[in-house]
């Protein structure tokens, strides 16, 4: 063995430690970027400095600080902080779902909305608006969550019959999505007035304006649990690269693993969509960009996707608040506007375009 290593320059050089240090650096750096981004994003558009933000947070945490004027305090603590946190959580969740589904379906165009869960959420939101429960803050969110879970249930019932083959997942997801999209249009056109159509359209394009601490807590818990589950399936997600038989021969219980991953991504998507609406493009592009940074192995890809997705949505949301101020553009519009050129850039760098 020793002789072979001497004869073999590549083994002798052993590039692994260098590689690992580089990875640690990338992870540490991206976490720093995330924290700094969130801190900056809290400031943007509030008209408050670091001192005020510190006082608002300190006051809540029971620290001996001079309290802020009530309005400013409420603006920072009740509106801005949860909004930035929610942007980070939703961005992270969508990017992770995209990365997982791209591997499970072996389709690089897969995104979290592929499964039709978001269309179910839209239908739920529309029903709530049309029935006039939208006034209460939890109305649209609650309706969207129920709609998403109904769509997810239908997806699972259909997949139970057809099995969990990758192309079946894509086809069934599209069918479920189309069904709920049709239902949404039907309800909206048959009984919606101009106001509710406008409210629903805004929600469909995604908006973080209604972010509250309840959504933040729910999203944080679900994202933490979901990320852990899919991260523990990293080796299986890598193994799917060469198809079902090879994955199975590597010791992956393909059926069970696929079921676990589908359930987890559906719940993550449902919670994210219910909280902020269907923010497009994050789940599609972020994983591709992150693969470019850290490679395709899911042990690194999944946590890095979460961080980069978080940074991306925090900044996109900050931009929506300032670019056309005082008008707020739905964040989904901006993710696409920024995402499309980024996506093209990544594809070109990877030599795929």
């Amino acid at each position: 063995m020793a002789d072979a290593a001497v004869l073999d320059p590549v083994v002798q050089k052993s590039p692994k430690p260098v590689q690992r240090r580089k990875n640690t650096l990338v992870v540490a750096l991206s976490l720093v970027v995330l924290v700094v981004s969130m801190a900056l994003a809290v400031r943007i558009g509030v008209g408050a400095g670091w001192a005020e933000i510190g006082r608002a947070a300190g006051g809540r945490l029971g620290l001996p600080v001079v309290p802020l004027p009530r309005l400013l305090d409420s603006l920072i603590w009740d509106l801005r902080l949860p909004r930035v946190l929610l942007a980070a959580l939703v961005g992270g969740a969508l990017a992770v779902c995209g990365a997982v589904l791209q591997s499970v379906t072996r389709n690089s165009l897969a995104d979290p909305y592929l499964l039709g869960v978001s269309s179910g959420a839209s239908t739920g939101a529309v029903v709530v608006v049309v029935l006039g429960f939208a006034g209460s803050q939890l109305g649209i969110t609650g309706g969207a969550l129920i709609g998403a879970l109904v769509a997810f249930g239908l997806l699972m019932v259909l997949l139970r019959r057809t099995g969990l083959d990758s192309s079946r997942i894509v086809l069934t997801g599209v069918v479920v999505g189309q069904l709920f999209a049709a239902l949404t249009s039907l309800i909206l056109l048959s009984s919606g007035d101009a106001d509710s159509i406008r409210a629903v359209t805004n929600w469909l394009l995604g908006s973080l304006a209604s972010a509250r601490w309840t959504s933040v807590v729910v999203c944080a818990v679900v994202l933490a649990a979901g990320l852990l589950v899919v991260w523990l399936c990293s080796a299986a997600l890598d193994g799917f690269a060469f198809g079902t038989d090879t994955a199975s021969s590597l010791g992956v219980d393909v059926r069970t693993t696929r079921a676990v991953l589908l359930v987890t991504t559906s719940v993550l998507t449902a919670v994210a969509v219910a909280a902020v609406g269907a923010v497009g493009f994050v789940g599609l592009i972020i994983p591709h960009g992150v693969r470019f940074l850290v490679g395709p192995l899911h042990r690194k890809l999944l946590p890095m996707s979460a961080v980069v997705g978080a940074v991306f949505l925090v900044w996109t949301d900050a931009l929506t608040r300032v670019v056309f101020a005082p008008l707020e553009v739905p964040v989904g519009v901006f993710t696409a506007l920024i995402g499309v050129p980024l996506f093209l850039l990544v594809l070109r760098k990877r030599g795929e375009l």
Binding site: D8, R106, A236, F242
Partner: protein, 256 residues
Amino acid sequence: MRIDVEDLSWGVPGKTIVRNVSLAVEPGQTVGLIGPNGSGKSSLLRCVAGLRTPTGGRVLYDGAGIGSWSARDRARKLAFVEQTADTESDLRVAEVVMLGRTPHRSRWRGPDAADHEIVAAALRRLDLTALADRPWKQLSGGERQRTHLARALAQRTAGLLLDEPTNHLDVRHQLELMELAGSTPQTVVVALHDLALAARYCDRLVLMHRGEVVADGRAVDVLTAPLLREVFDVEAEIGRDDLGHLAVGYREPVRR
């Protein structure tokens, strides 16, 4: 590992593809599965690899059935290389070979030093060390096939099941690969199209036709003109080349 195939059948609804096959493979033996396209070689191999559940009969590994094994248990005992397994992913050669360590690794930890050592050894064995950092998409068909074999070796199993592994390889790598299959202490079952190659490196040949085993034994007994005519529809002459290896010369296909 000893592999006993007992009266095994497998098929899809409406069509039986493998019919009542029995086969005993001694530990360390290299058995070549030969037969025309559609004769059931690949399906039999997948049943033996535990990737398909037989519709009848069973496979025993050192006397034990696969029933109680998890996918992970199975993958620690049996490695399988498909005929063509491609990917759109940007995996590099060493990363693909590292996939072979999947059944041995904890979910919580990444590959450790021992895993890296085993991968390096498998790369050396398949002459791939210089390509370790090469992306999959830049590999030739033969390099891909060798990468898959290195991945299967890194799995460190007692049984190795190969579905036409020499398909994309040039002559030199065909010989090297078969030499490896013949000399490894693992129990190897390999489906092959090249009859002379099969004869030269396998301890035993199993000839399949329409899902059934029609001959099983030493190459000289299996590769006979009447059998080849019956199974492959070709007129063939069996002889020996200057080196003493069995050689198969084909005339023309049998007209019917």
